[in-house]
Symmetry: C2
Subunit: 212 residues, 2 copies
């Protein structure tokens, strides 16, 4: 769980394979016959596991559809973000942090594109995805709070003002992320998601200006 190049071992490799097989199964079935007509039993049959095992890997059918939680970059990247005070432009730094985050956590390429396709045909999945983002939001909120506290000692002395400001930044950042996601899902196949994230953050700056 800590090391990087430690030879996964058979056990871990099998776990990853099953994890992938389940996601592949649920996405394939969902794109074939529609999300609502897929049962856990079907998924398990395709993925070649027991229905009970399905729930050892995913807490719900929806979770398997929505995919894995987003992770917030490496420790180093987070620390870099927290202590990059002189820059001053938090949004710009957030754009960097989050674009690399989505870059890293796009698991399998095939799954990535399959999910994109299913989301395109079935927009309510964006809502699903939001549910999985709740823990991500919490994590992001913590990191942003630390950054704000490091930036401004005065603000750090006022916990509720700090908290409210961090929360607003978090929610706006997630809004930009959602925007990037949907534009990416609707748009051109070739454009990387990370590029869309940067573009959406750039769009934020134009909102508070008078409309040109």
């Amino acid at each position: 769980m800590v090391d990087v190049a430690e030879e996964p071992g058979l056990r871990e490799r099998k776990r990853l394979a099953t994890h992938r097989a389940i996601q592949l199964a649920v996405l394939t079935l969902a794109s074939e016959r529609g999300v609502d007509k897929v049962t856990v039993e079907d998924i398990s049959r395709i993925a070649d596991v027991s229905p009970r095992t399905f729930f050892n890997y995913f807490p719900s059918k929806d979770a398997a559809l929505a995919g894995d939680d987003l992770t917030l970059g490496s420790e180093a990247e987070i620390e870099d973000f927290v202590h990059r005070s002189p820059s001053g432009d938090i949004l710009a730094d957030l754009a960097v942090l989050l674009s690399t985050s989505v870059q890293n956590s796009q698991d399998d390429r095939e799954i990535h594109h399959l999910r994109r396709q299913v989301m395109k045909e079935n927009p309510y999945l964006f809502g699903m995805r939001m549910a999985t983002l709740r823990s991500f939001e919490g994590h992001l909120d913590d990191v942003i709070s630390r950054r704000l506290a490091a930036d401004d000692p005065v603000l750090a002395a006022d916990p509720i003002a700090l908290h409210q400001r961090a929360l607003l930044l978090t929610l706006v950042a997630v809004a930009a992320l959602r925007h990037a996601w949907r534009c990416w899902a609707e748009g051109d196949e070739s454009e990387p998601l990370a590029d869309r994230v940067r573009a959406s953050f750039a769009g934020l700056y134009e909102l508070t200006l008078r409309t040109s």
Copy 2:
């Protein structure tokens, strides 16, 4: 369904009473014993309806917990927003539109405060609430698109740019709404939700400036 002062009639009054009784039941039980330990059967017993009737009023247990959909103000208020071009400051106009929207759609006072309390103890309900907001987002997206098209003929000629910009505005506005909600739920009992909405929108302006 159209008129306003048309004497509701017994049928309609009973429907509203049942609607309210169910919400009251689910919120009371949830605050007493925790959200997870409430079954539809329990709710129905307290609300004095059959379990089947419960699902005639709400599509799911979660929906009853999350409460009714938000509505986006009256037709007149919407048209006013769409055609208030000279102002130029869309975010400010959105703040007005949405603060009056939340004002109008706070149903019962008792339910309002009960839900606030349950949300306070059970933060994951904010996620629930988001799910119910999906149709609201769609509606808001339409209205904002119309406003942008009215503001800027050049932008109106480029459908995808228009769409992307409207979507970003929508998601940011919803982010502000979410922020207002959570601050309102966590904070002082007395402050009206509408005031919190305005405050959160005001906070948006400070984000793209350098942190003071």
